[in-house]
């Protein structure tokens, strides 16, 4: 499986920003680890997320993005619900990963001082 292409990351990043609008600094290491550890089906799901949801959501006004994703998460169809859930999973992992990195940096600097 090829790694994430730049525009795919941008689309997925757009999706993450809609799901968790608070600041997240998604680092290259996170993408690399996600790509390394994900099984093929999850990689495919994330790419569908990027291509179907991420690219499309970016075309909407900022106010509408959240409404549409929320509606999809409650869709009567299984696939859209799962796509939003997968994106939510990645967004929560990205946030957690960044918070952990920040905590390590903070405590590291205390230890080093």
């Amino acid at each position: 499986m090829i790694g994430w292409l730049q525009f795919e990351r941008v689309w997925l990043r757009t999706l993450i920003d809609v799901i968790l609008p608070g600041p997240i600094d998604v680092r290259p290491e996170f993408w690399a680890e996600l790509e390394r550890a994900s099984p093929p089906l999850l990689r495919i799901g994330l790419r569908i997320d990027a291509w179907l949801l991420g690219s499309w959501v970016g075309l909407l006004s900022v106010q509408r993005r959240e409404l549409y994703l929320d509606a999809l998460s409650r869709s009567r169809f299984y696939l859209p619900r799962q796509l939003v859930f997968t994106a939510k999973l990645v967004a929560c992992f990205a946030r957690s990963s960044q918070e952990t990195d920040d905590a390590h940096r903070h405590f590291g600097s205390i230890e080093g001082s």
Partner: protein
């Protein structure tokens, strides 16, 4: 622990008396029993050895380092469901909740009804005796109140108010500090996972562990096992000649190894059973801080006879966040109040049987679909979980069932889910944690893969020690039963070699 390191830049050929494939509870217990007989086994593990202090950083890192496929291995079927498996020295014991249950007598009776020969070859008294040994070795004790944490206390309170039988969970820990990070690998090393118990003890007796090595197939001549073929960390071939091979790679990986080795006779890979789990979250006025206290320290046992086992669930922030409602600002607001959420889960003794086969690129393919009766149990479980939350004082409960109210505040509404919840697997966000039955044990060759002495029906010197051999699921957490049966398997190997 005696870790074997191989030069990853080239292929190798090794010799060993006994090779054990897998270092989880089954492999570790079998290896220990074999080592006690002086046979010095070599244990092969696909994952790496982790230092406790490097673990428990956050949910994502734990999943990516300790879990197979980032915890995202999926069944195929109408609702692909993740099944969680560890991939580390110590296997799933490194990242489970350390929950311990003895093999229920009624389950053993079911097995013996199906195959009366098990009554003689695997008598319940013998299983009980070995389970006593396991409990002593792993210091299995009920979770003390001092480290239970609020999430566990709330489950106890809810069960008490509803009149459901409940108790602290017995766990294999020593000196647990209640850090709430069992499923990320205990950062304090307090869990007596296999790397910190059975494998260490086996190493003292001469066992060696070869991590980061992927076993591809069992080598045999059609009559007896000759060893294994594997791939090193560096991707080079590794051949290990052995007198005996014990497969202990799990109910998913073991049948795949058998099938890839040309041992394709049914029921190899058939009869897959599991405990699909569902969870419910609830919002409480006072903080719960689900990440503090024993990860899973309390259980409701009053519904085990129905095939529903309920536990408190401790998650780290990342995993807990995915269970919150909504996206965008609504999700951010819920995350800001994450400390006020409790999580309870239920494991279902599902009747459905699936199949494990070899999929793309030699990977396991697990076909599994729940039956209507399983889904009925699932929606009853969700209903009871919600009622427990409300009985414990939750302001709001989030059942997480598609097609049902997203938020419930009254027990009557929560009860309604038992009648009106959809009987579709796609309505539930479930996860599979325990797997069984894909190389079942039995005296009749046509309906079993291994004999009652754990030896493969068609191949001498090949044994299976993991939960593949269980004729059915158990309805309770199987780690202790796996340890007991794998110990007996190891002793059979030792006896046969003697």
């Amino acid at each position: 622990m005696h870790i074997v390191t191989l030069d990853p830049s080239k292929g190798h050929e090794l010799e060993a008396g006994v090779v054990v494939v897998g270092s989880g509870p089954a492999g570790a217990a079998a290896a220990f029993a074999v080592a006690q007989a002086g046979l010095a086994p070599l244990v092969i593990e696909e994952g790496a050895l982790f230092e406790p202090s490097r673990l428990g950083q956050d949910g994502f890192r734990a999943l990516s380092q300790l879990y197979r496929d980032l915890g995202g291995s999926l069944t195929s079927g109408p609702a692909p469901t993740p099944f969680l498996q560890g991939r580390a020295v110590g296997g799933t014991s490194v990242m489970n909740g350390a929950i311990s249950w003895r093999l229920p007598k009624h389950v053993h009776e079911e097995w013996c009804r199906d195959d009366p020969s098990l009554e003689g070859s695997l008598p319940f008294d013998l299983v009980e005796t070995v389970t006593d040994e396991v409990e002593t070795r792993l210091n299995i004790r009920p979770t003390p109140p001092g480290i239970a944490g609020r999430n566990n206390e709330l489950l106890a309170q809810g069960a008490q108010n509803l009149g459901l039988e409940h108790r602290p969970i017995s766990r294999n820990v020593r000196g647990c500090e209640g850090r709430g990070q069992c499923i990320e690998g205990c950062p304090a090393g307090r869990k007596l996972s296999m790397d910190r118990s059975y494998l260490e003890a086996a190493s003292v007796l001469g066992a060696r562990v070869l991590p980061e090595t992927t076993v591809l197939a069992v080598e045999h001549d059609g009559r007896r096992a000759r060893g294994i073929i594997a791939r090193t960390r560096g991707g080079h071939p590794l051949r290990i000649r052995a007198k005996v091979v014990i497969l202990a790679a799990s109910a998913v990986q073991t049948p795949v190894l058998l099938l890839r080795s040309g041992l394709v006779r049914p029921p190899t890979g058939f009869g897959f059973q599991a405990h699909p789990g569902v969870s419910v979250s609830g919002f409480f006025e006072a903080p719960v801080e689900v990440w503090r206290g024993a990860t899973q320290g309390h259980e409701v046992i009053g519904l085990v006879h129905e095939g529903i086992k309920i536990e408190a669930l401790g998650f780290d922030r990342a995993i807990a966040s995915t269970r919150l409602l909504g996206v965008g600002q609504r999700l951010e607001e819920a995350m800001a109040q994450l400390a006020h959420y409790a999580f309870f889960g239920a494991a279902i003794r599902a009747r459905a049987r699936g199949r494990v086969s070899v999929g793309l690129r030699g990977k396991p393919r697990v076909e599994y679909s729940l039956l209507e009766e399983d889904l009925s149990k699932m929606r009853r479980a969700v209903s009871v979980l919600g009622q427990l939350m409300l009985a414990a004082g939750a302001e709001r409960v989030f059942p997480g069932v598609h097609g049902f109210a997203a938020e419930v505040r009254h027990p009557v509404a929560m009860q309604a889910i038992e009648r009106t919840g959809r009987l579709s697997p796609r309505a539930y966000q479930s996860v599979i944690t325990h797997m069984f039955g894909t190389a079942r044990m039995g005296s009749v060759r046509e309906s079993a893969v291994v004999r009652p002495d754990f030896r493969h029906h068609d191949l001498d010197r090949l044994y299976v020690a993991d939960s593949s051999v269980f004729p059915s699921n158990t309805g309770v957490n199987p780690q202790t039963s796996i340890l007991a049966l794998a110990t007996l398997c190891g002793r059979e190997v030792a006896r046969a070699q003697a």
